[in-house]
Protein backbone atom coordinates (compact mmCIF):
# COMPACT_ATOMS: atom_id res chain seq x y z
CA UNK A 1 0.00 0.00 0.00
CA UNK A 2 1.22 3.48 -0.75
CA UNK A 3 0.56 4.76 2.82
CA UNK A 4 3.88 3.15 3.71
CA UNK A 5 5.71 5.79 1.66
CA UNK A 6 3.96 8.62 3.53
CA UNK A 7 4.62 6.93 6.88
CA UNK A 8 8.31 6.81 5.99
CA UNK A 9 8.09 10.56 5.35
CA UNK A 10 6.59 11.15 8.82
CA UNK A 11 9.32 9.09 10.50
CA UNK A 12 12.14 10.70 8.57
CA UNK A 13 10.77 14.20 9.32
CA UNK A 14 10.37 13.28 13.03
CA UNK A 15 13.99 12.12 13.08
CA UNK A 16 15.17 15.33 11.44
CA UNK A 17 13.21 17.38 13.99
CA UNK A 18 14.61 15.27 16.85
CA UNK A 19 18.14 15.90 15.62
CA UNK A 20 17.44 19.60 15.19
CA UNK A 21 16.04 19.79 18.75
CA UNK A 22 18.95 17.66 20.07
CA UNK A 23 16.50 15.08 21.55
CA UNK A 24 18.01 11.88 22.86
CA UNK A 25 14.61 10.20 22.93
CA UNK A 26 11.31 11.01 21.26
CA UNK A 27 8.34 10.11 23.46
CA UNK A 28 5.42 11.20 21.29
CA UNK A 29 4.74 11.90 17.62
CA UNK A 30 1.60 13.91 16.84
CA UNK A 31 0.21 13.36 13.35
CA UNK A 32 -2.68 15.01 11.56
CA UNK A 33 -4.53 13.10 8.84
CA UNK A 34 -6.53 15.18 6.39
CA UNK A 35 -9.79 13.59 5.32
CA UNK A 36 -9.26 14.31 1.60
CA UNK A 37 -6.50 11.69 1.42
CA UNK A 38 -8.84 9.07 2.94
CA UNK A 39 -6.23 7.28 5.01
CA UNK A 40 -7.29 4.92 7.76
CA UNK A 41 -5.79 6.38 10.96
CA UNK A 42 -5.34 3.09 12.84
CA UNK A 43 -3.71 1.44 9.86
CA UNK A 44 -1.40 4.44 9.38
CA UNK A 45 -0.35 4.36 13.05
CA UNK A 46 0.46 0.64 12.82
CA UNK A 47 2.64 1.31 9.75
CA UNK A 48 4.36 4.15 11.60
CA UNK A 49 5.08 1.90 14.58
CA UNK A 50 6.57 -0.74 12.29
CA UNK A 51 8.90 1.80 10.65
CA UNK A 52 9.80 3.41 14.01
CA UNK A 53 11.17 0.07 15.20
CA UNK A 54 13.84 -0.02 12.53
CA UNK A 55 14.59 3.64 11.76
CA UNK A 56 16.57 5.05 14.72
CA UNK A 57 16.93 4.04 18.41
CA UNK A 58 15.78 7.46 19.64
CA UNK A 59 12.38 6.97 17.96
CA UNK A 60 11.81 3.37 18.99
CA UNK A 61 9.62 3.98 22.04
CA UNK A 62 7.65 6.95 20.69
CA UNK A 63 3.90 6.90 21.12
CA UNK A 64 2.02 7.89 17.95
CA UNK A 65 -1.09 10.01 18.32
CA UNK A 66 -3.21 10.99 15.35
CA UNK A 67 -6.01 13.44 14.78
CA UNK A 68 -8.38 13.29 11.83
CA UNK A 69 -8.99 16.63 10.18
CA UNK A 70 -12.20 17.22 8.29
CA UNK A 71 -11.59 18.36 4.70
CA UNK A 72 -13.16 21.70 3.78
CA UNK A 73 -13.32 22.96 0.20
CA UNK A 74 -13.94 26.55 -0.90
CA UNK A 75 -14.90 27.65 -4.40
CA UNK A 76 -12.64 30.34 -5.86
CA UNK A 77 -15.38 31.44 -8.25
CA UNK A 78 -18.49 31.83 -6.09
CA UNK A 79 -17.03 31.55 -2.58
CA UNK A 80 -19.20 28.57 -1.59
CA UNK A 81 -17.71 26.45 1.19
CA UNK A 82 -18.53 22.77 1.62
CA UNK A 83 -17.29 19.53 3.14
CA UNK A 84 -15.43 16.90 1.14
CA UNK A 85 -17.66 14.31 2.80
CA UNK A 86 -20.64 15.83 0.92
CA UNK A 87 -18.87 15.49 -2.43
CA UNK A 88 -17.62 12.01 -1.60
CA UNK A 89 -21.16 10.68 -1.59
CA UNK A 90 -21.33 11.36 -5.33
CA UNK A 91 -17.93 9.82 -6.16
CA UNK A 92 -17.44 6.28 -7.41
CA UNK A 93 -15.11 4.10 -5.32
CA UNK A 94 -12.62 4.21 -8.18
CA UNK A 95 -12.56 8.04 -8.37
CA UNK A 96 -12.32 8.31 -4.57
CA UNK A 97 -9.31 5.96 -4.69
CA UNK A 98 -7.57 8.15 -7.27
CA UNK A 99 -7.96 11.13 -4.90
CA UNK A 100 -6.53 8.94 -2.14
CA UNK A 101 -3.30 8.59 -4.16
CA UNK A 102 -3.01 12.25 -5.23
CA UNK A 103 -5.44 14.56 -3.35
CA UNK A 104 -5.18 17.27 -6.06
CA UNK A 105 -6.99 14.87 -8.40
CA UNK A 106 -10.09 16.11 -6.51
CA UNK A 107 -10.11 18.93 -9.10
CA UNK A 108 -10.66 16.35 -11.81
CA UNK A 109 -13.62 14.59 -10.19
CA UNK A 110 -15.25 17.16 -7.87
CA UNK A 111 -17.16 20.33 -8.77
CA UNK A 112 -18.47 23.15 -6.57
CA UNK A 113 -22.01 22.13 -5.57
CA UNK A 114 -23.19 25.71 -6.04
CA UNK A 115 -21.67 26.82 -9.37
CA UNK A 116 -20.14 23.56 -10.75
CA UNK A 117 -16.63 25.03 -11.00
CA UNK A 118 -13.52 22.82 -10.58
CA UNK A 119 -11.64 25.93 -9.37
CA UNK A 120 -11.72 25.45 -5.61
CA UNK A 121 -9.19 25.33 -2.81
CA UNK A 122 -8.76 22.82 -0.04
CA UNK A 123 -8.73 25.10 2.96
CA UNK A 124 -8.36 22.27 5.50
CA UNK A 125 -7.71 18.55 5.65
CA UNK A 126 -5.61 17.83 2.53
CA UNK A 127 -3.26 15.04 3.63
CA UNK A 128 -0.89 13.70 6.28
CA UNK A 129 1.08 16.15 8.38
CA UNK A 130 3.60 15.89 11.21
CA UNK A 131 2.11 18.26 13.77
CA UNK A 132 4.84 18.03 16.43
CA UNK A 133 7.15 15.73 18.33
CA UNK A 134 7.74 15.53 22.07
CA UNK A 135 10.73 14.18 23.89
CA UNK A 136 13.79 14.91 25.94
Amino acid sequence: MHEWALAEGIVSTALKEAERGKFTEVTRINVKIGELQQIDGDLFVSLLKEILQVEDPKLKRAEVVFENQEAILKCRVCGHEWLFSESKKGLSDEDAELIHFVPEIAHVYIRCPACKSPDFEVTKGRGVWLESIEGE
Binding site: M1, E8, G9, I10, T13, V102, P103, E104, H107, W129
Partner: protein, 247 residues
Protein backbone atom coordinates in the same frame (compact mmCIF):
# COMPACT_ATOMS: atom_id res chain seq x y z
CA UNK B 1 5.72 19.87 8.97
CA UNK B 2 5.26 18.40 5.53
CA UNK B 3 6.48 14.78 5.80
CA UNK B 4 6.90 14.44 2.04
CA UNK B 5 9.78 16.89 1.68
CA UNK B 6 12.30 14.88 3.71
CA UNK B 7 11.62 11.63 1.88
CA UNK B 8 12.04 12.82 -1.72
CA UNK B 9 15.83 12.67 -1.63
CA UNK B 10 15.64 9.07 -0.38
CA UNK B 11 13.29 8.14 -3.23
CA UNK B 12 15.82 9.45 -5.77
CA UNK B 13 19.04 8.22 -4.16
CA UNK B 14 19.52 5.27 -6.53
CA UNK B 15 19.17 7.41 -9.65
CA UNK B 16 22.51 8.33 -11.21
CA UNK B 17 21.40 11.30 -13.30
CA UNK B 18 18.23 13.40 -13.46
CA UNK B 19 17.71 15.39 -16.67
CA UNK B 20 14.97 18.05 -16.79
CA UNK B 21 13.96 18.73 -20.41
CA UNK B 22 12.83 22.32 -20.34
CA UNK B 23 12.31 25.39 -22.52
CA UNK B 24 10.58 28.68 -22.09
CA UNK B 25 7.84 28.20 -24.66
CA UNK B 26 5.29 25.53 -25.47
CA UNK B 27 5.38 23.67 -28.78
CA UNK B 28 9.16 23.55 -29.19
CA UNK B 29 9.36 19.76 -28.83
CA UNK B 30 10.11 19.21 -25.15
CA UNK B 31 7.86 16.17 -24.77
CA UNK B 32 9.13 14.58 -27.96
CA UNK B 33 12.71 15.23 -26.93
CA UNK B 34 12.12 13.81 -23.44
CA UNK B 35 10.35 10.72 -24.84
CA UNK B 36 12.91 10.05 -27.58
CA UNK B 37 15.80 10.67 -25.22
CA UNK B 38 14.35 8.16 -22.75
CA UNK B 39 13.84 5.62 -25.55
CA UNK B 40 17.40 6.09 -26.80
CA UNK B 41 18.94 5.73 -23.33
CA UNK B 42 16.82 2.63 -22.76
CA UNK B 43 17.83 1.11 -26.12
CA UNK B 44 21.47 1.83 -25.29
CA UNK B 45 21.04 -0.42 -22.27
CA UNK B 46 20.57 2.20 -19.54
CA UNK B 47 17.90 1.80 -16.88
CA UNK B 48 15.65 4.75 -17.62
CA UNK B 49 12.69 6.51 -16.04
CA UNK B 50 10.44 9.16 -17.57
CA UNK B 51 8.25 11.52 -15.54
CA UNK B 52 5.74 13.75 -17.34
CA UNK B 53 5.63 16.87 -15.15
CA UNK B 54 3.38 18.80 -17.49
CA UNK B 55 0.32 18.20 -15.32
CA UNK B 56 -1.78 20.75 -17.19
CA UNK B 57 -1.11 19.21 -20.60
CA UNK B 58 0.47 15.76 -20.26
CA UNK B 59 1.41 14.29 -23.63
CA UNK B 60 4.15 11.69 -23.21
CA UNK B 61 1.54 8.88 -23.18
CA UNK B 62 0.33 10.10 -26.60
CA UNK B 63 3.87 10.25 -27.98
CA UNK B 64 4.63 6.73 -26.77
CA UNK B 65 1.19 5.34 -27.65
CA UNK B 66 0.40 4.17 -24.12
CA UNK B 67 -2.98 3.12 -22.85
CA UNK B 68 -4.06 1.48 -19.65
CA UNK B 69 -0.63 1.04 -18.02
CA UNK B 70 -1.06 1.70 -14.31
CA UNK B 71 1.33 1.96 -11.35
CA UNK B 72 1.14 -0.75 -8.74
CA UNK B 73 1.22 -0.28 -4.97
CA UNK B 74 4.15 -1.64 -3.02
CA UNK B 75 5.25 0.45 -0.06
CA UNK B 76 4.60 3.41 -2.34
CA UNK B 77 3.87 3.23 -6.04
CA UNK B 78 5.92 1.47 -8.69
CA UNK B 79 5.77 3.14 -12.13
CA UNK B 80 4.48 0.92 -14.94
CA UNK B 81 6.81 -0.23 -17.72
CA UNK B 82 6.43 1.60 -21.02
CA UNK B 83 8.60 0.15 -23.82
CA UNK B 84 11.34 -0.63 -21.28
CA UNK B 85 11.02 2.74 -19.51
CA UNK B 86 9.56 3.35 -16.04
CA UNK B 87 6.88 5.92 -16.71
CA UNK B 88 5.03 8.25 -14.35
CA UNK B 89 2.35 10.77 -15.27
CA UNK B 90 -0.70 12.47 -13.85
CA UNK B 91 -2.70 10.60 -16.50
CA UNK B 92 -2.41 7.45 -14.37
CA UNK B 93 -4.84 9.25 -12.03
CA UNK B 94 -6.70 11.79 -14.19
CA UNK B 95 -7.14 9.52 -17.21
CA UNK B 96 -8.43 11.36 -20.28
CA UNK B 97 -10.15 13.99 -18.13
CA UNK B 98 -8.87 17.57 -18.04
CA UNK B 99 -6.88 18.44 -14.89
CA UNK B 100 -7.88 22.03 -14.00
CA UNK B 101 -5.21 22.37 -11.30
CA UNK B 102 -3.73 25.70 -10.19
CA UNK B 103 -0.04 26.31 -9.57
CA UNK B 104 0.02 25.64 -5.83
CA UNK B 105 -1.94 22.42 -6.32
CA UNK B 106 0.31 21.35 -9.21
CA UNK B 107 3.20 21.84 -6.84
CA UNK B 108 1.46 19.71 -4.19
CA UNK B 109 0.62 16.94 -6.67
CA UNK B 110 4.20 16.88 -7.92
CA UNK B 111 5.58 16.70 -4.36
CA UNK B 112 3.12 13.89 -3.58
CA UNK B 113 4.20 11.82 -6.59
CA UNK B 114 7.90 12.46 -5.90
CA UNK B 115 7.39 11.33 -2.29
CA UNK B 116 5.51 8.11 -3.04
CA UNK B 117 7.07 6.92 -6.32
CA UNK B 118 9.69 4.22 -5.92
CA UNK B 119 11.85 4.38 -9.04
CA UNK B 120 14.44 1.93 -7.76
CA UNK B 121 17.84 1.89 -9.48
CA UNK B 122 18.01 4.05 -12.58
CA UNK B 123 20.82 5.36 -14.72
CA UNK B 124 18.71 8.22 -16.04
CA UNK B 125 15.45 9.84 -14.95
CA UNK B 126 14.13 12.18 -17.63
CA UNK B 127 11.68 14.90 -16.55
CA UNK B 128 9.38 16.44 -19.14
CA UNK B 129 8.90 19.97 -17.84
CA UNK B 130 5.90 22.19 -18.59
CA UNK B 131 6.58 25.43 -20.51
CA UNK B 132 7.55 28.56 -18.64
CA UNK B 133 9.32 29.45 -15.44
CA UNK B 134 6.59 28.49 -13.03
CA UNK B 135 5.97 26.32 -9.99
CA UNK B 136 7.27 23.10 -11.55
CA UNK B 137 10.61 24.62 -12.57
CA UNK B 138 11.04 26.23 -9.16
CA UNK B 139 10.08 22.97 -7.42
CA UNK B 140 12.55 20.94 -9.46
CA UNK B 141 15.30 23.43 -8.59
CA UNK B 142 14.25 23.38 -4.90
CA UNK B 143 13.59 19.67 -4.40
CA UNK B 144 15.72 17.91 -7.02
CA UNK B 145 18.99 19.71 -6.58
CA UNK B 146 20.82 17.20 -8.79
CA UNK B 147 18.50 17.81 -11.75
CA UNK B 148 20.42 19.01 -14.82
CA UNK B 149 18.52 21.20 -17.27
CA UNK B 150 18.50 20.46 -20.99
CA UNK B 151 16.92 23.36 -22.85
CA UNK B 152 15.02 22.90 -26.10
CA UNK B 153 14.35 25.88 -28.34
CA UNK B 154 13.61 26.82 -31.92
CA UNK B 155 15.43 29.50 -33.88
CA UNK B 156 12.52 31.92 -33.42
CA UNK B 157 13.54 35.14 -31.69
CA UNK B 158 10.29 34.94 -29.72
CA UNK B 159 11.35 31.61 -28.22
CA UNK B 160 14.94 32.68 -27.76
CA UNK B 161 13.93 35.69 -25.67
CA UNK B 162 12.14 33.40 -23.20
CA UNK B 163 14.94 30.82 -23.24
CA UNK B 164 17.45 33.52 -22.32
CA UNK B 165 15.34 34.41 -19.28
CA UNK B 166 15.16 30.74 -18.26
CA UNK B 167 18.94 30.33 -18.67
CA UNK B 168 19.61 33.47 -16.65
CA UNK B 169 17.35 32.22 -13.86
CA UNK B 170 19.01 28.76 -13.83
CA UNK B 171 22.43 30.40 -13.66
CA UNK B 172 21.36 32.75 -10.89
CA UNK B 173 19.99 29.82 -8.86
CA UNK B 174 23.11 27.76 -9.70
CA UNK B 175 21.02 24.96 -11.23
CA UNK B 176 23.14 22.67 -13.44
CA UNK B 177 22.66 23.27 -17.18
CA UNK B 178 23.57 20.55 -19.69
CA UNK B 179 23.09 22.82 -22.68
CA UNK B 180 20.74 23.89 -25.44
CA UNK B 181 19.42 21.94 -28.44
CA UNK B 182 17.93 23.82 -31.37
CA UNK B 183 14.87 21.98 -32.68
CA UNK B 184 12.69 22.31 -35.80
CA UNK B 185 15.46 24.05 -37.72
CA UNK B 186 14.30 25.43 -41.06
CA UNK B 187 17.32 27.53 -42.14
CA UNK B 188 21.13 27.26 -42.15
CA UNK B 189 21.45 30.30 -39.89
CA UNK B 190 23.96 30.11 -37.05
CA UNK B 191 22.18 32.94 -35.23
CA UNK B 192 20.95 30.79 -32.35
CA UNK B 193 24.20 28.93 -31.68
CA UNK B 194 26.03 32.26 -31.51
CA UNK B 195 23.44 33.73 -29.13
CA UNK B 196 23.66 30.70 -26.84
CA UNK B 197 27.46 30.70 -27.03
CA UNK B 198 27.46 34.34 -25.95
CA UNK B 199 25.61 33.29 -22.79
CA UNK B 200 28.41 30.83 -22.00
CA UNK B 201 26.04 27.86 -22.21
CA UNK B 202 26.97 24.75 -24.28
CA UNK B 203 25.19 24.59 -27.63
CA UNK B 204 24.71 20.86 -28.20
CA UNK B 205 23.36 20.68 -31.72
CA UNK B 206 20.62 21.30 -34.24
CA UNK B 207 17.72 19.10 -35.28
CA UNK B 208 16.08 19.85 -38.62
CA UNK B 209 12.31 20.19 -38.86
CA UNK B 210 11.11 16.64 -39.54
CA UNK B 211 7.94 16.47 -41.61
CA UNK B 212 7.65 12.72 -41.05
CA UNK B 213 7.61 12.96 -37.27
CA UNK B 214 3.89 13.62 -36.79
CA UNK B 215 2.95 10.40 -38.60
CA UNK B 216 5.18 8.42 -36.25
CA UNK B 217 3.56 9.72 -33.02
CA UNK B 218 2.14 6.86 -30.99
CA UNK B 219 4.39 4.20 -32.50
CA UNK B 220 7.75 3.83 -30.78
CA UNK B 221 9.38 1.79 -33.55
CA UNK B 222 8.39 4.38 -36.14
CA UNK B 223 9.53 7.26 -33.90
CA UNK B 224 12.98 5.72 -33.50
CA UNK B 225 13.35 5.57 -37.29
CA UNK B 226 12.61 9.28 -37.82
CA UNK B 227 15.29 11.82 -38.71
CA UNK B 228 14.42 13.56 -35.43
CA UNK B 229 15.34 10.46 -33.40
CA UNK B 230 18.48 9.85 -35.47
CA UNK B 231 19.65 13.43 -34.87
CA UNK B 232 18.85 13.15 -31.17
CA UNK B 233 20.82 9.90 -30.91
CA UNK B 234 23.77 11.48 -32.67
CA UNK B 235 23.79 14.33 -30.15
CA UNK B 236 23.45 11.97 -27.16
CA UNK B 237 26.15 9.56 -28.34
CA UNK B 238 28.63 12.19 -29.49
CA UNK B 239 28.50 14.60 -26.56
CA UNK B 240 30.62 13.85 -23.52
CA UNK B 241 28.10 15.67 -21.33
CA UNK B 242 25.58 12.81 -21.71
CA UNK B 243 28.05 10.15 -20.60
CA UNK B 244 27.38 8.46 -17.31
CA UNK B 245 30.09 9.10 -14.77
CA UNK B 246 30.41 7.32 -11.45
CA UNK B 247 28.98 9.43 -8.69
Amino acid sequence: MDPRLTIIERRLKDIKRIIAVSGGKGGVGKSLTASVMALIFSRLGYKTGLFDLDFGGPSIHTVLGLKGALPREEKGIIPPDAHGIKFMSIIHYAGDNPSPIRGIDISNAMIELLAITRWGRLDFLILDMPPGIGDSTLDVIRLLKRAEFLIITTESRVTLDVVKKLLNLLKELKAPIIGVIENMKLTRSSFLSKEIGALDVPFLGEIDFDRGLEDAIGNVDHILKTRFAESMKEIIVSKEIFKLKDR
